[in-house]
């Protein structure tokens, strides 16, 4: 009899947490795509926050205080490109040829609006080879 109280209480708590976790998940999980993958799935992904990775192509329009316009190239095929616009301040390591991961949304205009940029650098503990 006493055991039942514990079990029921435990189950209720468990359900509550699972529910919360599910909600948090929806809000917190972000998918990552290569440029080609993103363009392939473009119709389903408009205005969803995603991450895209690619190499910065030559021809970056950058001036401190103004939005930066640049293009990233798919690293798996070397040709597919994606125009990106970013409003914040660029990380110091951002440069042409660098592999970056942009997080933001792909808009109907065909431009990816980035909310954040991460430059992929070699592991912090291993020196750059």
């Amino acid at each position: 009899m006493k055991k039942k109280k514990f079990i029921i209480g435990g189950i209720i708590i468990l359900i509550g947490v699972i529910l919360l976790a599910y909600i948090g998940f929806q809000a917190g999980a972000t998918y990552y795509y290569e440029v080609g993958e993103l363009l392939g799935k473009a119709d389903t992904l408009y205005d969803k926050t995603v991450k895209v990775g690619g190499e910065v192509a030559p021809g970056v329009e950058q001036e401190l205080g103004k939005p930066t316009h640049f293009t990233i190239i798919d690293i798996t095929d070397g040709t597919t490109t994606l125009p990106v616009v970013y409003n914040g301040s660029l990380p110091y390591t951002f440069q042409v040829g660098r592999h970056v991961i942009v997080e933001g949304q792909y808009t109907q205009s065909g431009v990816f609006e980035a909310k954040s940029i991460m430059t992929k650098c070699p592991s912090k503990y291993e020196p750059a080879q």
Partner: protein
Amino acid sequence: MAEFGYTVLILAFVASLFSIASSAAGARQKRTDLINAGRNSLLAVFILVTLAEVILLIGLVTHDFSIKYVAEYTSRALPVPYLISGLWAGNAGSLLFWAWLLSLCAAVFVLRKSSTTREIMPHASAVVMFVQMFFLIMLIFAMNPFATLPTPPADGRGLNPLLENPAMVIHPPLLLAGYVVFTIPFALAVAALMSRKLGDEWLNRARGWAVLAWLLLGIGNIIGAWWAYVELGWGGYWAWDPVENAGLMPWLVGTAFLHSITIQKRRGMFKRWSMMLIILSFTLTIFGTFLTRSNLLQSVHTFGENTLVPFFLALLLISFFGSLALLTYREKELQGKESTESFISKEGAFLLNNLFLLLSTLVIFIGTLFPAIAEALTGTQVEVGKSFFNMANLPIFMAIIVLAGVCVITSWHQLILKDFKRSVIIPAIVTLIIIIALLISGRREWSSVVSFAISGFVITATLYQWLKELLARRRAAADNPKSGTSLGFMWLNKNRYGAYLVHISIVLIAIGVIGSSVYSVEKEAVLSPGESISLNQYRVTYDKLNLAGSESRMIITADMSIYDGYKLIAKLTPQKFIDANFEQPVTEVAIRSTPVEDIYIALDNWDSTRKASFRVLVNPLVMWIWIGGGVFFIGGLICFWPQRTRLEEPQAGKTKRSPQETRPPGKPE
């Protein structure tokens, strides 16, 4: 030198094998000579691994760049403290450091004489040496810290400048020590299972070690959070990064274990549960270091190689499933003498607390591993962000804090309503006052209002109970002039008052976390020299930019002035270091801290016209996290301090007492 170091490791490995065999055989056949041989070879392992560690240290301090590890993590210009920290800066070094810490714990463990655990010592030391052996195998066969370079370079690469911070000297060793020390209570538990000595002997001895491990891990995590806050420049202190989670999970389960064994010692209940918890804690420590040293997950912390994966997997599987099997096998003999009478009691609160801690651990575990599982099963790459962990954990952590307050005012066996009502009135009034004050001042975010109210409740309830106990004792002592001081009384009840202090510290940390998470304000701005931005009531002016340093290391400093109205309240100097050897520049954040709030400025970027981009934040209440950390350390230390004498239970009012109550908290032998 390096070859000698490697040979020493091989010798240590052989000695550990011998120790396992002797101890195991000696335990089985009850032969003292074999047991002694096992013990002595364990001490030999300690001496040998210490020797290896010293050799590496000498190599680091004397700039012996023929050793690959020394060349990779140090340079001639590096100050001595950072040369020493090279011992744990890289994968191989920190693995050796772990092996050394483990051999040290093992040596201290076997050298302390104890009559109650004499019979299970050989089993326990065999288990410890088994784990030790695994680490030595990894060092010898997969991650040799003494690997040499055919042509030693003139100068080493140097330490990643991101790590040049005093925290580098304390955070990794504390964390590593916390992990390692969990091995001892685990070994004692397994030894008790193997030898069927399933009374409280193993527990009394394990408790001290478990508190130490928990204390080190806790303070290590807090220092890590502090370091992230002042170093990484994003304004936060905990990113739910896989490696951060790896350090948090064993601590959560360790907390559950410490609470569970308190019940076991008092009421003889939850024996199997306690066993399960310490097995889980230890497994999570191994899992944690496995995550850090493998490529499984992306993190700012990982060493990112895969060579050690098979070894760690083997150790994980053997230790976890082996001990579980043992536990199931001995299950019948672990039945407790009593069972819970009522859920609404201290026991009930403790059980709920355990439940919530484990739920949180489960949530964190799933969130941490989800990307790896998703990629393995479906090929998609997904990242689980902070909001998942925050949203899922907030209610759980709040529930745990509520329980911390509730348990102080409930009774053992069953809640005595009269006592409860008396104890809860003042905290409830204070809580109401807090809620009203918050609402009046305009705060409408219900989650934070509730959280602050709960925090107020718990602190008040704990302090009030503490005061009641001291006053009751004063009254009792008034009749007996020999009974000593209040301080002395508290010192005799270290567990209780240490625990009160720890509970208060957790609430202080919670207050800091809530304040800075919910009410933090952030602005990004691009400014030319002379321009300013305002944030809340402050005006932040960018005065000028200074460039200094040399080719190999550039230092860019921005001079900022902070005004509150017309008063200049601070001058801050955020910086960026650019080291030629390392691509990623290092941000030195500038912070002005008061107990009310932090003003936090990070310099992001700049151009040739000296226009610069900044991130400015006002973070309320952050200081309380570090204050809470300090209180946590003191409280934990008090809990850890050995109790030497049998003592009387502190009474608060006329609480009914069961005949079995006055058992001593036990000596951590």
